[in-house]
């Protein structure tokens, strides 16, 4: 056995992380993103096109309305003004406004001003639509001006013009016309409504197209995802169908190629490993026949050693002792290769753990060397021979590498039974702790083996494999009670009936 076959805790393997950790990522999924992108593009283009078209048509419509109103308004004034006496009084102003208004389509509000006098075509109408800016523009710049105003939610065009004499001299008379732009607004709004009505089907169509596009992209992506997960779960035959010649097809081809390579290299490794295992098994098996003969006759050497000359006697005893050791080594190798090949089987029955430990120690003459804490009646279903092997290895280890006192304690918990082997040696340095269960691990390479050391270098590894076969474990640690020393704990499932055992 290697120097201090002590070790890291090796629990039963935790269940592998759930392989299908697939969250339902509807939000942020490729499909959602595609649809959102398509819809956004459709909306932006529709809105931009509409906005441009709307602006253009609105400008055109308004310009036309403005031009025609202005033209009609000025023409009307031309017609009416010569009949007005200058300077006008309120009455003539009113008649001017009324006549201008009457001559225009839609009878717009007309306001005529002369200095402080003012008359409107409709006395009830509110002339606040004529802004001071417009008025000052008309009076100071002395030319026809117009302004678009919003009044009570309705758009209006206000045109103002100074009336001049034929020689170009200003008369001081100003005429304002207020025309509703409502028909024009309705015309342009109609454009907007038409666009709004059209946007919904366009967006739906975009979404539909996006879904179709997503489908053609997503199906191979999903297949690839499934194949990858299968591969990750160990199905090395997982492949995807390659369709078409696009980037996704390339990706699929690459995936298949990777999987091929992986399968080939894993297969190669497995073959190698199987060959190595078979080789160990074959070697051990082949060693056994000559060993059987040597083991058998070794007793003769032992029996007759006393009658041999001293050197021959020494040689005879050495041959006998080393034959026994070789025999144990081959036994351990065979045992190990059976674990490796999965051929190890449990021959389980109900056992009393305390009794088993006691017998195990008694068989090897260790009862005196070990302090026992064996409560009565700790029973479980286990393979007696294998439990003996574990106990013998752990206690043998403690006696060889630890220091006395060595304590062996049996305990029972709710679902475990334990055998704890504690020594009072130097304990296990962390770097040793990590390797204690490795085969042929030697904690101190410089340490020479004493004769009859008895260990094969496989003891802790075999103990662990035997424990695992039961669904149990062997853990190695240092004492935590203030004393130096190593603690090895065998933990076996606490089973009450043979039926509970599922090998």
């Amino acid at each position: 056995m290697p120097v201090h076959d002590h070790s890291t805790p090796l629990h039963t393997e935790p269940a592998p992380a759930p392989s299908s950790k697939r969250r339902l990522h509807f939000i942020g999924g490729l499909r959602t993103r595609l649809v959102v992108a398509f819809v956004l593009v459709a909306l932006v283009s529709a809105v931009t096109a509409t906005a441009l078209a709307y602006r253009e048509s609105r400008t055109a419509v308004l310009q036309r309305a403005q031009d025609s109103f202005q033209k009609d308004f000025l023409a009307r004034i031309e017609t009416v003004v010569p009949n007005v006496d200058m300077p006008p009084d309120t009455q003539s102003l009113a008649s001017l406004a009324t006549r201008v208004s009457e001559g225009l389509s839609g009878a717009p509000l007309v306001v005529a001003r002369y200095q402080d006098l003012k008359a409107t075509s409709d006395s009830l109408a509110d002339d606040s639509r004529i802004s001071p800016q417009l008025r000052s523009a008309v009076s100071t710049l002395d030319r026809t001006s117009f302004q678009r105003v919003e009044h009570a939610g309705e758009p209006y065009l206000v045109v103002g013009t100074p009336v001049t004499y034929e020689n170009g001299q200003t008369s001081g008379l100003e005429v304002y016309g207020v025309a509703s732009l409502r028909p024009e607004q309705e015309a342009t709004t109609g454009v907007l409504d038409a666009v709004r009505g059209g946007i919904v089907p366009v967006v739906l169509l975009a979404a539909l197209l996006a879904l179709l596009a997503a489908r053609t992209v997503l199906r191979p992506v999903r297949e690839l995802g499934r194949a990858t997960r299968r591969l990750a779960e160990g199905d090395l035959d997982s492949r995807v169908a390659v369709r078409g010649g696009d980037e996704l097809a390339d990706l699929a081809r690459d995936f298949n190629h990777t999987a091929d390579e992986l399968r080939a290299s894993v297969g190669g490794l497995r073959d190698q490993e199987a060959r190595a295992r078979r080789f160990v098994a074959d070697v051990s098996h082949e060693l056994r026949t000559p060993l059987a003969a040597m083991t058998m006759v070794a007793t003769v050497l032992d029996e007759d050693a006393d009658r041999l000359p001293p050197d021959a006697a020494h040689a005879a005893r050495t041959v006998s002792a080393e034959t026994a050791r070789l025999s144990r080594l081959v036994d351990d190798l065979m045992e190990m290769s059976r674990f490796d090949s999965g051929a190890a089987a449990l021959n389980a029955g109900e056992i009393d753990l305390g009794e088993t430990v006691r017998a195990s120690l008694a068989l090897r003459g260790w009862t005196e060397a070990v302090r026992l804490e064996l409560p009565e009646g700790v029973r479980t279903v286990a393979d007696r021979r294998r439990v003996d092997v574990i106990v013998a290895n752990l206690v043998g280890n403690a006696l060889r590498h630890g220091a006395p006192p060595v304590t062996v304690a049996v305990g029972a918990e709710w679902d475990w039974v334990t055998v704890t082997v504690t020594d009072s040696g130097p304990g296990l340095p962390p770097e040793v702790l990590a390797h204690v269960f490795e085969r042929f691990y030697k904690a101190d390479a410089s340490r020479t083996r004493t004769r009859g050391d008895g260990g094969s270098g496989l003891g802790t590894a075999i103990a662990l494999e035997n424990a695992r076969l039961h669904g149990g474990t062997v853990e190695a640690a240092n004492r935590t009670d203030g004393v130096t020393g190593a603690v090895f704990t065998l933990r076996l499932p606490h089973r009450h009936h043979k039926e509970e055992l599922t090998p």
């Binding site: 000559p290 040597m294 058998m296 003769v300 081959v330 043979k498």
Partner: protein, 230 residues
């Protein structure tokens, strides 16, 4: 001087065993093949052979077949098989073929001898346990080592006979497999309880009216076996 038949194909192993057994006072007949061994059993010295040590891995006729053929010739010859360690199926098959015990190769001389002695003791007339008992149609003559059922003799190999004697000595008492291994096979505590199960199976096949519903040798689940109650 006990007479042992050794059946082992490897010359070195065979010679080694022969050497050791001769040194410890056994008469040894060695055979390299099953055919040779059966010829020896049928020969003029065959009557004197008291025990067979049989390697299961033999060229030609394998050890299981040799064991079965030995059983057709004699029910009383103890057979100890030599097996490779841990080849569990071999052990089970060997026990089914009628072997009484097994040792694992490589075996040391003291272990082999201890097994041989134990097997031979089972075949000897037992210590003077008195009366012949008649239990439920079963007549067990403890001195003469004969068993008759409803007047008809039942031929039992020594291991099965010892097992029956052990169990029937205390009718109704439950024996654990370990106890039976220790008392009948003289194994250490590490003995293989399948030996007991296999022997019980063979015993029932010869003794019980319906081996699947045994009256004489009953199973007590989780504990072991008992004789009766009838």
């Amino acid at each position: 001087m006990p007479h042992v038949l050794l059946i082992e194909d490897d010359a070195s192993v065979r010679d080694g065993m022969e050497l050791v057994l001769r040194r410890h006072g056994y008469d040894v007949d060695a055979a390299a093949t099953g055919e040779e061994a059966l010829a020896l059993l049928d020969g003029e010295r065959g009557e004197r052979i008291e025990l067979a040590v049989l390697d299961l891995m033999l060229p030609g006729m394998d050890g299981f077949e040799v064991c079965r053929r030995i059983r057709t010739r004699t029910t009383t010859l103890p057979v100890i098989m030599l097996t490779a360690r841990g080849d569990d199926q071999d052990i089970v098959n060997g026990l089914e073929a009628g072997a009484d015990d097994y040792v694992v190769k490589p075996v040391t001389a003291p272990v082999l001898e201890a097994r041989i002695r134990a097997a031979l003791r089972r075949a000897e007339p037992s210590a003077p346990v008195p009366e012949a008992a008649d239990q439920g149609g079963l007549h067990i003559d403890r001195a003469g080592l004969t068993v008759t059922k409803n007047g008809a003799p039942v031929a039992l190999p020594p291991t099965e006979l010892r097992l029956l004697l052990e169990l029937s000595a205390s009718p109704g008492r439950v024996f654990s497999r370990e106890q039976l291994l220790a008392s009948v096979w003289e194994h250490t505590f590490l003995g293989d309880s399948r030996l007991v199960d296999a022997a019980v199976g063979r015993l029932r096949a010869k003794l019980e009216d319906v081996p699947a519903k045994p009256r004489y040798v009953q199973t007590v689940r989780g504990f072991g076996y008992r004789f009766g109650p009838l």
